[in-house]
């Protein structure tokens, strides 16, 4: 295989890995929106929080797997706290207040991260098992990127199983179409909301741990990822998981090939893509509601 093709394939891999991470964050955002009608602007802050937790667990135990297991759970715990003690209290007042309270939470998380871990970038190394390259069919792939893609696929599979094969999944799918009706049928909706919020932040947490070793962990991480995830959700259609998956992968590829061909203007591609999609279909690719 000639070097040019190899480079394209490598860029494609980078794009795919980033796209899958983007999907993990965006799917959490999307599930929460689909269920509760809240666009959680603090979602990316939870993603960042998890990256910091991962750093903390790693420096305490030195074991990546411990971090991968516990950091998202710790993040989900904070997410559940937020749902239980902030969002639930103002749910009756409409979405505007909820949207703005998530802004407040994101500011508090940003400040908290700066207080506990400082403002400088923290480096995390890729766990030794996952370093290096693996060659498949005469091509070298970085193991860690493959790991990210595999991890995301596993999480995706778990999500699909949860949604379509369990009782909870059935309730969630029913609640997406009409939460009031499900509530009227005698299902404890506040508890379902809490679980869904927990799962959503857990997804962001997994993405945070997975991406920490290839990016630096710093307080601007949330802005960087948050913007991308919001664009994905809006473009893919609010509340649509398959839309989020497709658009995440498109954006991942767009950004990795964009960097190669347009260098500094690559971040603009995403927004232009979004503007075109929304100009044609204001609800996004697969969205049915605004």
């Amino acid at each position: 295989m000639n070097p040019t093709t190899a480079m394209y394939v490598a860029q494609g891999m980078h794009g795919l890995a980033y796209g899958m991470i983007l999907f993990l964050v965006a799917s959490g955002l999307n599930i929460i929106f689909g269920m509760m009608g809240i666009l959680n602007l603090a979602h990316a802050s939870f993603f960042m929080l998890s990256a910091y937790f991962s750093y903390q667990f790693l420096s305490m135990t030195g074991n990546f797997w411990v971090a991968l297991l516990f950091a998202p759970v710790a993040t989900a715990f904070f997410g559940i706290l937020m749902e239980r003690f902030l969002l639930r209290k103002i749910h009756a007042l409409g979405h505007m207040g909820e949207l703005i309270i998530t802004v407040g939470v994101s500011l508090v998380i940003l400040a908290g991260v700066k207080i506990f871990w400082g403002t400088e970038s923290l480096p995390l190394s890729i766990p030794p098992v996952l370093t290096g390259l693996v060659s498949i069919a005469g091509m070298d792939y970085p193991v860690y990127r493959l790991f990210i893609i595999a991890l995301s696929l596993v999480v995706l599979a778990i999500m699909v199983l949860l949604l379509y094969k369990t009782r909870l999944g059935k309730i969630v799918r029913a609640a997406v179409s009409d939460a009031d009706m499900v509530n009227a049928l005698g299902i404890n909706m506040p508890r379902v909301f809490m679980i869904v919020f927990g799962v959503g932040t857990w997804l962001a947490g997994v993405a945070g741990v997975a991406i920490a070793p290839i990016l630096l962990v710093f307080p601007g991480l949330a802005d960087q990822m948050g913007m991308d995830a919001f664009v994905v959700v809006v473009t893919g259609g609010l509340g649509s998981l398959s839309g989020a998956l497709i658009v995440s992968i498109i954006f991942g590829l767009l950004s990795s090939y964009g960097v190669q061909f347009l260098s500094q203007f690559a971040p603009l591609l995403m927004f232009i893509f979004m503007a075109i999609v929304l100009a044609i279909k204001p609800t996004g690719f697969f969205g049915e509601r605004e």
């Binding site: 802004v103 913007m227 919001f230 979004m274």
Partner: protein, 331 residues
């Protein structure tokens, strides 16, 4: 009659206080007041969208920033441009941006409107950040000439003196505030409130909802541009920071804290935030923490903001005094 006298004496008192303010408080607090006034106008223009038309925007900073860049670029490149046309260029550039965006954004509302603005705001920020040749990126455009304010051959006032600039800024922002107030009081302003409360009904009554939204959008954008323009002149600097997400959240915070239900709510909110930042920076670096916590507490406990709190307290008080008056009467 007495009511009218009272009103006029209140206005005179306000003008008198504003006139002697720099003499009384000195240069530091004069500059602080200009900053407050800029953000107050920015927030009031934001509230034209949120409070009056029910459109929450997370990208209002783009009009603020573009207004600032318009003025700064014009002063940098056009030699001998007078002051007022420079501010006007700021206004027009923000209005043009709003005109370009409005066919796209008036079709959506609610969360989609908010998110679309988050994205467009970020797009503008990215452009300002990346197009170093034009905007100077993160360092911005600074040190452009500040022309004197004057009528040719009659008078010329040097605007580089902070005190003179204070008067200029207060007058321009005061006029903007009055114009926005007037705008909400016109019959058109009533349609605007109708769009917020029940868009479908306004549609049935024969008014055009998207067009109404578009007009409000352009007006709100233009006044945010004026605020940005004055801000750029005041700092003698405009950088990509004026377009970033935190600048977009500033009017959201100020409006929520002051109260979305009233015209002057955002002004009160701006004053509260400004004082709060001023006080917190003396004790701690964690301005974000303080702002975030205040935002959460306000939404939890006083969702209509301080103006709403004042109103409900007054209602309670008047109900109680009415009750007391009734109880006093022999039945």
């Amino acid at each position: 009659m007495t009511n009218n006298v009272f009103k006029w004496s209140l206005w005179t008192a306000l003008v008198a206080v504003l006139a002697v303010y720099p003499k009384l408080f000195g240069i530091y607090y004069t500059n602080l007041f200009v900053t407050f006034a800029v953000f107050a106008i920015f927030s009031v223009s934001f509230n034209l969208l949120l409070g009056y038309t029910g459109l929450l925007s997370f990208g209002h900073a783009m009009f603020f920033g573009v207004g600032g860049y318009g003025t700064a670029l014009a002063l940098k490149h056009i030699r001998g441009l007078p002051l007022l046309p420079a501010v006007l260029i700021g206004l027009v550039s923000a209005a043009v941006l709003a005109l370009i965006l409005c066919p796209l954004v008036v079709r959506v509302s609610g969360t989609a409107f908010a998110m679309l603005h988050l994205a467009f705001g970020q797009l503008m920020y990215m452009l300002a950040y990346k197009l170093r040749g034009i905007t100077g990126g993160e360092d911005g455009i600074g040190g452009f000439p500040i022309p004197p304010f004057g009528i040719p051959g009659v008078v010329s006032i040097d605007m580089r003196a902070p005190e003179n600039f204070y008067y200029f800024a207060i007058v321009v922002l005061g006029i903007s505030l009055w114009m926005m107030w007037f705008f909400t009081k016109t019959p058109f302003g009533q349609i605007q409130v109708g769009v917020r409360d029940n868009a479908m009904r306004i549609d049935y009554m024969g008014f055009k909802v998207p067009q109404t939204k578009a007009v409000v959008y352009v007006v709100a954008g233009a006044f945010a541009g004026v605020a940005g323009s004055i801000y750029a002149l005041f700092q003698n600097l405009i950088s990509s920071g004026a377009l970033d997400i935190f600048t977009s959240f500033t009017p959201v915070t100020m409006t929520m804290i002051g109260g979305i239900g009233s015209f002057l709510g955002p002004v009160l909110g701006a004053a509260v935030i400004q004082l709060m930042e001023e006080l917190t920076t003396r004790f701690t670096q964690q301005v974000e923490l303080v702002v975030g916590v205040i935002l959460i507490l306000v939404i939890l406990f006083v969702p209509m903001g301080f103006v709403g709190l004042g109103r409900s307290l007054r209602q309670k008080w008047s109900a109680r005094s009415a009750l007391r008056a009734n109880l006093g009467k022999p039945s």
